[in-house]
Amino acid sequence: MAFSAAKTNGVLVVHVEGQLIVGNRQELKQLVQEALDHGERKFLIDFAKAGYIDSSGLGALVSISKKVRETGGELRLSGLNDDLRSLFELTKLDTLFAINDGLTQALAGF
């Protein structure tokens, strides 16, 4: 299972374990969509246990971010390693997402 979700302080925290890639991105999109349908509005996607994101994974996050914003919700990302953060920077997606170093800091940002 690449994704696990648990609610903490009113925020649905989704942990990405391993990688967010072309082969599993739909699973994450579906998980967030179902949570939105159930009324969740605050989302934190944590990458502390993730080693890799490809451009399809970045695209999935962009799509999720749009859906969360459209429903008046909030999305934050945390735990990106240096390589992954560099992907966000070079694609300028660091300007689209609220990104925190750690989970605690991200949770405090809501």
Binding site: V22, Y52, D54, V62, D83
Partner: protein, 152 residues
């Protein structure tokens, strides 16, 4: 399930090591192929932060080029194949990814970097390749990409 991936390694006087593999038109297998090739190509390198960076760049180039070739070149047809060939010569790694599709004009791909365009879900793969590779060229038909990495 048995993997359909078979690595072929050749050594010639001109190219010390050439690693190649044929990848079927299934996006699910892209990362397995990229990891297999990266592991093999970096096997002899001493572990260090620089080696780790090189592995990340190589894996990313392979993933993005393979995804593009499978998605746009052979339209995710599992009966068709994409060829990958990595030539390791001294300080250089040259990665060739070739499909048998019609090809495309790489100048026609505009990445979503404009602030008003950041919400676009796709279109970043080739841009990421250009940022991480030291050199990128295409054949005239546009169905074969050659990405050069300096193994510094």
């Amino acid at each position: 399930m048995t993997s359909p991936l078979r690595l072929v390694v050749r050594r010639t006087p001109a190219i010390p090591v050439e690693v190649s593999v044929r990848v079927p038109g299934d996006l699910e297998i892209v990362h397995e192929a990229a990891e297999l090739l990266t592991r093999h190509c970096c096997a002899g390198l001493t572990p260090s932060p620089l080696t780790q960076k090189l592995q990340f760049r190589l894996k990313t180039l392979l993933c993005e080029a393979l995804t593009n070739a499978i998605r746009h070149g052979i339209h995710e047809n599992p009966a068709r194949w994409v060829g990958v060939r990595v030539e390791l010569t001294g300080e250089l790694a040259q990665v060739h990814v070739t499909d048998d599709g019609a090809g495309f004009d790489p100048r026609s791909v505009v990445p979503p970097l404009d602030p008003n365009d950041l919400d676009r879900e796709s279109g970043r793969g080739l841009f990421i390749i250009r940022q991480l590779a030291d050199d990128v060229t295409f054949n005239p038909q546009g169905n074969s990409i050659c990405m050069t990495l300096r193994r510094r």
